[in-house]
């Protein structure tokens, strides 16, 4: 280890570390300990919110691997989650499959669907791909709606799922779910971080930046694009499957296009092409409706008109997407990076050159 400047890296292993700075390791350890301790003093409401956030983190990391790293826009993520949820519902209800079998099976089926949805990506880029995944979304949801109407307990009630059991431990209630989801969330984040710095992640970034150049340096574009879709869909199906267990009921109405857009909003707000960004975005977008709700509670009663609060929660997603794309396109993580850079360089000032100055 070279002494002297903390920015001096003398090996690739050092630059590739997940947390290169010592303070980052301290902060992350402290955060993990704090997260483990939350159930001992947090209220049930807080635990519920955090559980929702962990579910969102799993889905957002998956989408960011596909859209942020590999550059393939997907509007079909809600349908992947629906696939995960429905496979879980079918397996538990029809075959009485245990938790440890139903969840991986949902991931595998989700991955298979992701493979099929990813096939058009071999032909299209950008907006055409987005339109294709949009059509795929409607097709999958249409099939599931038909299934639900035929085999569900009733056309609207959806399919209920019993609480999962591992060994003799029944996962029920906010606290036990908290640990299951925290574990899965942390595992997903670690998986994403490791994948993104491996040759797979580097191949994805190369394809995102210029697929022709990537192909010419020997990256198998077909394989890696499909791999991105498969990985991403598997993670989305994981989130869908766990979410189905968590809520105890599966209805196709929960998996709208708005949900897919919400996940896109998460990675835009958090930061495209950054795992930490997906976590930040997932936290932000999950808590946003609750903040608006609280803000509304503070208003005088006669201002709270009927469904205005609900409408504003919806509108907030759109407003946040637009504001971030216009003013902070690299997301919340870029704000963090700027602040971190300021303190790292302190007392020296460092300013990024504008494109005009860089020329």
């Amino acid at each position: 280890m070279a002494a002297g400047s903390p920015y001096l890296r003398v090996s690739y292993a050092e630059t590739n570390r997940i947390f290169p700075e010592p303070y980052q390791r301290v902060v992350v350890t402290a955060a993990l300990v704090a997260l483990l301790a939350v159930p001992f003093f947090g209220s049930g409401y807080l635990l519920h919110l955090m559980n929702l956030t962990f579910l969102a983190v799993i889905g957002a990391v998956g989408l960011n691997l596909l859209t942020g790293y590999c550059g393939q826009v997907s509007l079909g993520h809600a349908s992947f989650m629906a696939i995960g949820a429905f496979v879980t519902a079918i397996l538990t209800n029809l075959y009485a499959a245990p938790f440890w079998l139903a969840v991986p099976a949902s991931c595998i089926i989700g991955a298979a669907v992701g493979f099929v949805v990813g096939l058009p990506a071999l032909r299209f880029r950008g907006i055409y791909l987005a339109i294709t995944t949009l059509a795929m979304h409607y097709a999958i949801i249409f099939i599931l709606t038909t299934y639900q109407a035929k085999f569900g307990s009733s056309a609207t009630a959806g399919i209920s799922i019993p609480a999962p059991v591992i060994g003799s431990w029944q996962i029920e209630g906010g606290r036990s779910w908290y640990y299951v989801l925290l574990l899965t969330g942390v595992a997903t984040v670690l998986f994403g971080l490791n994948l993104s710095r491996s040759y797979v992640g580097r191949a994805w970034v190369a394809i995102r930046d210029r697929d022709i150049a990537a192909a010419s340096v020997g990256i198998n574009v077909t394989r890696f694009k499909l791999l991105a879709f498969v990985t991403s869909a598997a993670l989305a199906a994981l989130a869908g499957s766990l979410g189905a267990y968590f809520s105890g009921v599966v209805t196709v109405e929960a998996y709208t296009l708005e949900l897919a857009i919400l996940y896109l909003a998460m990675i835009i707000v958090g930061g495209m092409g950054s795992i930490a960004g997906s976590v930040l975005g997932a936290v932000f977008m999950t808590l946003l409706p609750f903040w608006i709700e609280h803000g509304f509670d503070m208003l005088p009663p006669n201002w709270r008109l009927g469904s205005t609060s609900y409408g504003l929660q919806e509108a907030a997603i759109g407003i946040v997407i637009i504001l971030f794309l216009l003013f902070e396109p690299k997301g919340l993580i870029e704000i963090y990076r700027r602040i971190a850079l300021y303190f790292e360089r302190w007392p020296f000032r460092y300013r990024e050159l504008s494109p005009a100055e860089r020329r």
Binding site: V73, L134, S307, L325
Partner: protein
């Protein structure tokens, strides 16, 4: 005969929707995912204006709605799209999705998701032997569609501004060096597109009730635009008619429930077979 009229009426509505998407795409290479929302908000504006106008005067309502929708379009361009020029198409498309969400929420906030209908005239002009009816709305729809497309073809083909528009669509940089006001052209494109959307929305709302869920017609419009080719106004008409035909034939001959699936089924087929559409330019794919 009755089926044919229904197809033409629905097809005109889809073609108008597709025309708005095509005009914006042609001018700025932005696929507008907010089109269905803009259409339904336009219809809701029409409904509100009709209530406010003295004596519910129809011409006045139409004029006010048209002006409001053109202003909407121009605002969307200057407030959002202008600063996104030259950015990746994905960013612009995401912004239109954001616009879509805001407009859909506006229906909830402003109109409280009320289910309303627009009255353009429900007089029965003719009753078919089978019992079906030809109403005034059907006639108005077709006339409005023909007028709009005639105006568009005339504008693009024979006016100075229309020729400048096509020039700016082909190469904005060269056009601006030849004294073409590209900003004006793009604002005009958005204004026209939102006007077409509102027109389609009002015509749609005069035959079925409006609700936030009606915004799904944007998908039919997008399908129609893609079938015809995203950069072809001619294609919008053909695409609209084809989508309407497929929807009606599925509903009549196979299963009404399946007809909901028709737009995205066509979308998938077109994307696999001819992604640039019937009349579009194949090179388009390399630019996106």
């Amino acid at each position: 005969m009755e089926l044919l009229v229904s197809i033409i009426v629905l097809g005109t509505t889809y073609a108008l929707l597709a025309a708005g998407i095509v005009i914006v795409y042609k001018a700025s290479r932005v696929v507008n995912f907010a089109h269905g929302e803009l259409a339904i908000v336009g219809a809701y504006v029409f409904y509100s204006v009709a209530i406010m106008m003295p004596g519910h005067s129809l011409p006045l309502t139409i004029a006010v709605t048209a002006i409001v929708s053109v202003i909407f379009g121009v605002i969307v361009y200057f407030a959002l799209m202008r600063s996104l020029l030259g950015q990746p198409t994905f960013v612009a498309a995401m912004v239109t999705i954001g616009v879509a969400i805001i407009f859909k929420a506006a229906i909830v906030v402003v109109w409280q998701s009320k289910s309303v209908g627009v009255n353009l005239g429900r007089q029965i002009l003719y009753t078919y032997p089978g019992g079906g009816r030809l109403t005034a709305v059907d006639l108005i729809t077709v006339i409005a569609g023909v007028l709009f497309f005639a105006a568009m073809f005339g504008f693009f083909g024979y006016t100075r501004l229309g020729r400048q528009f096509r020039g700016a669509a082909e190469n904005p940089l060269l056009a601006s060096q030849r004294q073409v006001n590209v900003n004006l052209i793009l604002a005009l494109a958005w204004g026209t597109a939102v006007f077409a959307a509102s027109l389609a929305g009002v015509l749609f709302g005069s035959r079925s009730m409006l609700s936030p869920q009606s915004t799904i017609i944007g998908l039919s419009g997008l399908t129609a635009a893609l079938v015809g080719g995203l950069d072809s106004l001619r294609g919008a008409i053909i695409g609209g008619m084809l989508v309407a035909t497929a929807t009606f034939i599925t509903a009549r001959l196979i299963d009404p429930a399946l007809s909901e699936a028709v737009p995205f089924a066509i979308l998938l087929v077109v994307m696999c077979w001819r992604p640039w559409g019937l009349f579009g330019t194949p090179e388009e794919l390399n630019r996106v």
